[in-house]
Amino acid sequence: MTDRLTRAELDRFAEHYRLDPAGVETMLEAAEAHPSKAETRRFFVQVLGIGGLLSLAASLVFFVAANWSRLEIFGRFLIVEAVLVAAGIVALVRPPPALAGRAALFMAYVATGALLALFGQTYQTGADVYELFLTWSLLGLPFVVLGNWSVLSAAWLVTLNVALLLFCGYQPAGGLFWDAIGRRPMDQAILLCVAFAVNLVLCGLAEIFRFQAVPVWVKRIGMSWAFLFGSWSAVVGIVDDAASGLAVVYVSILLALEARYALNRREDIYPLAVVMGTCIVIGTALIIETFEFADEGMLLIIAIWLIGTSTFAARFLVARARAWRNAGVSS
């Protein structure tokens, strides 16, 4: 679907060659712009199937959150554990790549999180919310590996990043990350930079090993998290006087490495867009820090900076995308 001409390009084509409705219809057919019946059915099967699975997962999460007082603690655990065991049995009987096996492992992954939440809710462990997400992502990892499915990979990536977000954002004193940083508060900019690096490394590993379960859209989710953490880290490093400016240097180095890798790889321009988006954010923060709101002229400079850099970024990215796409067609 990604390699086809876009509707905007087809609009220009129809305009340029002054096609009538019949001509447009032929053009759309030739460009395979309309999904076939089989594709449409596949789309519905996938959306309804994944929608159904997510609904069942939501049902389990809602059930745990409801904290039903008429059901004994034992009963609550029994229900969630029964889901976990049933999912495991289904996955054993119909192992992945069978859809039933993958769906079962997804349910097992969600049930793991629900079980941890239920444990925390029942015994009031005092654990921070980030610990729930971190433990969930660690304990659920075997299901993700066994499932070998993009939906599971995406769910895992989101879970891990929520843990990173909660820890780097609030630095709660406790849990695995707290132990990892020596049980002492750490510079937030550096922490966020680490989260940025973690996402880049994960995307890099997926690139190198070409994991089937990590298609482009999942990698882009990882890159989007990288953009969030990288920009946040650099902005804190620049604007907050108490923060270490070193984070900006680290983020810049990582961005340069990422850009170089993406340019060499010549596959997807999304990582380059992330690099450029982060650079625009860093530049904006630098302007704010330099002028410190002392002069309204700063607002004009920011406006010009945003217009100039976004235009440059767009033109650069589109040119690269076109060149790589055409190279793909030729080969």
């Binding site: 060659y17 409705p21 032929t26 053009m27 059915r41 789309f43 589109v318």
Partner: protein, 332 residues
């Protein structure tokens, strides 16, 4: 040979393109969705900075002055779009001018307005004006998106008149025009025309693609699909964040199923995007559906236990339907 050249060859063979027709020059029209997002977000923010700069520097507080400034900026944006041919720097500058102009014009015009209905109605007209007049697809798509959002507010304030500022964040139950049915009436008036418009645009795509109307209908469809996917959350941003005890604990009833319709609308947007083979918009639709599920958790209707049951039944129904469709497909 590029895909564009390959398509030209195919249509030349079908005698739909003359043998001596000049080739189509490549431009930025085929840019990916995230590049459009980058441009739109940067242009919008630049417009905001620009109007703050002008407002502070020239100490503009007079309503008439602001309205005239707004018109001037929008006129400048129109001119810049006209001279911009390659989607370059001028187009982005025009977007910033247009956004700044719209803000100044709206502030100037609505400075003394007390009615939320008047404010939302005026903003709706402004966005429709921008959509019709600005000679640029990005500007039109953004205008349609904003028009859709303002439309949600307009209907809300018409059904729930005399709402205070809270009405901008979620419907204020005071003075609801249709009693208990107000929520459904608001929903129907808001979304049915938008769904119908999206469906019509999709069905008649071949017709309008062969006419100059494509310059308006394409961005209209893009903006509409984003509104269908995210409009609910964008116009009720705090409905998902406020989860006090007053927001839950109601008795189960058919009303409890009502929010599922929003999930359906977002999935409809995803289906439309699929028909257009637009992965970015499809992602927005699916993301919107997920957001609606999280909204269902926090607000509306009934207890979490009953919501859990609803999701269980819904999940089973969806899976059975998916299985049935799959079986039917393999038989045929």
């Amino acid at each position: 040979m590029s895909r564009l050249e390959a398509l030209t060859e195919k249509l030349r063979a079908a005698r739909l393109v003359a043998a001596d027709a000049p080739p189509l020059e490549v431009d930025d029209s085929g840019r990916p969705w995230f590049v459009s997002l980058l441009l739109g977000a940067a242009g919008w923010l630049a417009g905001l900075m620009l109007i703050f700069f002008i407002g502070i520097t020239f100490r503009m507080t007079d309503g008439l002055g602001l309205a005239i400034l707004g018109l001037f900026l929008m006129g400048a944006a129109y001119g810049l779009y006209r001279v911009d041919v390659g989607g370059a720097f001028l187009g982005q500058l025009a977007l910033a001018f247009s956004i700044a102009g719209q803000i100044a014009f709206a502030f100037g015009l609505l400075q003394d307005a007390n009615s939320a209905l008047v404010v939302s109605g005026t903003l709706l007209l402004l966005q429709i004006g921008v959509f019709v007049l600005m000679p640029n697809r990005t500007a039109r798509a953004i205008a349609m998106l904003f028009a859709g959002i303002v439309w949600c507010y307009f209907v809300r304030f018409a059904v729930y008149p005399d709402s205070d500022w809270e009405g901008w964040f979620m419907p204020d139950q005071k003075n609801a025009q249709f009693g208990a049915a107000s929520a459904v009436v608001t929903w129907a008036i808001t979304w049915v025309p938008l769904v119908a418009a999206a469906l019509w645009l999709l069905k008649r795509e071949t017709w309008w693609m062969s006419r100059p109307l494509r310059a308006w209908f394409r961005p209209a469809l893009t903006g509409l699909l984003v509104v269908l996917a995210l409009g609910g959350q964008l116009t009720e941003p705090f409905a998902t964040l406020m989860f006090g005890p007053d927001r839950w604990g109601m008795q189960f009833g058919w009303w409890s199923l009502f929010p599922l319709l929003s999930i359906g609308i977002a999935l409809f947007a995803a289906w439309c995007a699929f028909r257009l083979r637009n992965l970015g918009l499809m992602g927005v639709g699916l993301f919107g559906a997920l957001l609606h599920v999280s909204r269902f958790y926090y607000i509306y209707g009934t207890t979490l236990l009953e919501k859990s049951l609803i999701m269980l039944v819904l999940g089973v129904l969806l899976l059975v339907t998916a299985w049935w469709l799959r079986e039917r497909g393999s038989q045929s």
